[in-house]
Amino acid sequence: MSVARKALEMTKAATEAIVQRAETRYEAHRQEILRTTDRMFAGLMIGQWIFAIFIALTFSPYGWQGKVKAIHMHVWIAVFLGAAITSLPVALAWFRPGELLTRHVIAAGQMLWSALLIHLTGGRIETHFHVFGSLAFLAFYRDWPVLLTGTVVVATEHLIRGILWPESVYGIPNPEWWRFLEHAFWVVFCISILIPSCRRGLRDMRVMAERGAELEALSENQWRTSSVVDRAAAETRGDR
């Protein structure tokens, strides 16, 4: 094999190895973000469960019955429905962190938590802020389809509950039929900013990984150059 051909093959092999390492670094970084966010949501879900029980014990009796404080069925709703909403996302975050299904189930679960908290506070409008906070947290994944899952779940939930039990979601028994569209509009407004931000975050991660590859390539070139210089110097000295 000629020297030129051998050099070309070495360059190809080094290029492949460097590109592969860049891809591995990018994937490892992405997986780390996904797993960390899964774990964060697992903790958040359990925290929300405890918070929901607290709300059911303290706020729901007033929110739903006005003046009289009594043990309320919402305590049981918070305990059992809260457990049902929490269990699958937390189990997936624990046993299958970083997987596609896990983050979509978490997105759906988080939106169902918004729904439950809204219900427990008697459709209190301020509790709707939980939806927007949750969307912002879901953006930590930097995986924009997760935001679509969350949006579809919360919009569907608002539509169905708005028809069947409007007081539970809007705090009034007879809201305008189009009220869910107004809520959905603000959700879409929110994700229209978050989605480009997620995409930019991924692009930045890719640039970082590629930057590392370029520096590796540069280092490889410098190593080769110094090897050639060393060999030439050795030949000049007459070394064998």
């Binding site: 460097i18 860049a22 370029e214 390539a217 540069l218 490889e220 070139n221 410098q222």
Partner: protein, 68 residues
């Protein structure tokens, strides 16, 4: 190769690069165009040392170009 590591007292990376053209000769790319090339191609140029970087029209070394 002429190497200028500091221009205007600050390191600025590069704004243009010349790389070998497929049919022979060289082609001049802006930084954005170079960064848009497939990674495999960029890495190949850097390993072979066939990319010549420029800043404000003056050639700079690849290692200075890659600093910023």
């Amino acid at each position: 190769m002429t190497v200028d590591t500091t221009i205007g007292g600050a390191r600025k990376g590069y704004d243009r690069v010349e790389v070998p053209a497929p049919g022979g000769g060289t082609r001049s790319l802006t930084r954005k165009q170079f960064e848009s090339l497939p990674l495999r191609e960029r890495v190949g140029f850097l390993i072979e040392g066939t990319a010549q970087f420029f800043l404000d029209g003056r050639p700079i070394s690849a290692s200075d170009a890659m600093r910023v």
